[in-house]
Symmetry: C2
Subunit: 145 residues, 2 copies
Amino acid sequence: MDAELSIGAVAERSGVASSALRFYEDRGLIHSHRNSSGHRRYRRSVLRRVAFIRFAQQMGLTLAEIRGLVDELPDNRVPDADDWARVSAAWTPLLDAHIERLQRLRDRLTGCIGCGCLSMKRCGVLNPGDALAHAGPGPRLVIDG
Amino acid sequence: MDAELSIGAVAERSGVASSALRFYEDRGLIHSHRNSSGHRRYRRSVLRRVAFIRFAQQMGLTLAEIRGLVDELPDNRVPDADDWARVSAAWTPLLDAHIERLQRLRDRLTGCIGCGCLSMKRCGVLNPGDALAHAGPGPRLVIDG
DNA sequence: GTAAGAGTTCAAGTGCACTTGAAGTCAAGG
DNA sequence: CCTTGACTTCAAGTGCACTTGAACTCTTAC
C-alpha cells in the first residue's frame, strides 16, 4: 500500500501520460529506479514533483527552466519545511510580479473603455513601449518585465 | 508621414519580425493590400492589432483562438469606444479569472511554508485534485478553470 | 502453454509558432 | 549598366513538448 509506484500508477494519479513521464525523466526532471524486471519504480514524492512541474509550466516556464527549479527540491527524502520555505521564497515574488502585471493590464484595459483608445501613443494597453519588442523568437514567457 | 506602412516599418515599430507578420497574415490575423510593385502596405491600425495579438499570446491563447478575438476588432476603421467596450468586456473576465487563479496559488504556496507540506492530501498547491488531469496533450493554457 | 496486460527502448511523427533559405522582382543611386 | 536593399513566394527547417508506433520482455491468469 505504501509501496513505490509504477509508471502507470504515477500517470493515473498525476494525470500526466506515461510517455510524458519518461520524457521528463529523460530531461532529468524526475528520477526512478528499476525493479527486478526492469520496470520503473517511483517514490511517492514524484507526484509532488510532477505537480510542481505542471504548475511551473502553467507559469510559462520551459522544461529546461523548470529543471533548475526542481533541482532545488530534495529527491532522496520528503521535502521538509525548510525546503518549502526556500521554494516558496523563490516562487512568491515571481507569482506576485505576474499577478501585478496582469492587474496593471486589466486596469489599463478598463481605462480604455473610457478613452476610446484613439491614440496609440496614449494607450497603455496597446502601446506598452518596447515591452513586446525585446524578446527573442518563439512564444514569449508569461513571466517577464 | 501619415502614409501606410511597409512590412519592414511594421516589423520595426511592433518589434515583430517580417516573417512573423507574413505568417499572421497567412493565418488571417492581420490584413494588407499591395502597392503597384506587389509589396504589402499596412494601415497604421495594424500596429494596434499586432500589439493585441502579442498581448493575447501572453495570456496563453493560441493564434487560432486569437483570430476569433481580433475578428471582433474592425479592420477598416479606427476602433471606437464601442469596439473597445466590447473587447474589454470580453477580456476583463478572462483576466480576472486568471488573476484570481494565480492569487489562490500564491496563497496556497504561502500556506505551505507553515504546513511543511508533508501530506499530498492536505496540500492545496501540489494536490489540486483533477485540476491538472483534465487537459489534453501539449502545453496547457494558462487560462483555464 | 498461451494470451492479456503492463512495462521496456528507440525512432519517427505531431502541432504550434515561427525562421531560414533559395530564387526572383523592383526602384533608386552611383 | 549594375549593384544594393527591400521586398516577393514557397518549401523546408527549428525548438519545444510531447505522442505514437514497432518490436520486445515480463508477470499473471486461465
